[in-house]
């Protein structure tokens, strides 16, 4: 995991930077950042919706949190599709 995130920017000893490798690594880092953002917002939303009064344990809330996670992904995908459609429409009108 250590070496996987860009300790070697495609130099491979030749002294020249490989743009292809840099681009791949940047893509990975972007994907990681997006996953983190999604996770953080999902956690925030599901905590607010499912945990009214924080008690001694999660037991009763686990089912709510699980459903919330699924609904969050459904919502995310719906929004993504809707936004994409809107962008296509705007481009078509230009």
């Amino acid at each position: 995991m250590e070496g996987g995130f860009g300790s070697d920017f495609g130099g491979s000893g030749s002294g020249k930077l490989d743009p292809g490798l840099i681009m791949e690594q940047v893509k990975v880092q972007i994907a990681v950042a997006n996953a983190q953002e999604l996770l953080q917002r999902m956690t925030d939303k599901c905590f607010r919706k499912c945990i009214g009064k924080p008690g001694g344990s999660l037991d009763n809330s686990e089912q709510c949190i699980a459903m919330c996670m699924d609904r969050y992904m459904d919502a995310w995908n719906t929004v993504s599709r809707a936004y994409n459609s809107r962008l296509q429409r705007e481009r078509a009108n230009m």
């Binding site: 940047v26 893509k27 459903m67 609904r71 969050y72 995310w76 936004y83």
Partner: protein, 95 residues
């Protein structure tokens, strides 16, 4: 975003056009992703999450996305118009 891509080009001299294109594409993708994240949170149309996303909630999300984009465009257009007569962002702010 525009100033950052031109300043990075200036800093590195001639930027590999392949890399430049890559940066532009990824930047645009990121803008899209960011907005989806924001709108999903902003437009949350459910009280308590249920076993599925019902059609009313789905329609609510779609409407919200459309109105959000409309709002954004309206603001840009109106700002452009009012800027012409009464500049809100004066030159001195950029000093």
């Amino acid at each position: 975003m525009d100033s950052s891509s031109s300043s990075s080009a200036a800093g590195l001299g001639a930027v590999d056009p392949q890399l430049q294109h890559f940066i532009e594409v990824e930047t645009q993708k990121q803008r899209f992703q960011q907005l989806v994240h924001q709108m999903t949170e902003l437009c949350w149309c459910m009280d308590k999450p249920g076993p599925k996303l019902d059609s009313r909630a789905e329609a609510c999300f779609v409407n919200c996305v459309e109105r959000f984009i409309d709002t954004s465009q309206f603001i840009l257009n109106r700002l452009e118009q009012t800027q012409k007569s009464k500049p809100v962002f004066s030159e001195s702010l950029s000093d």
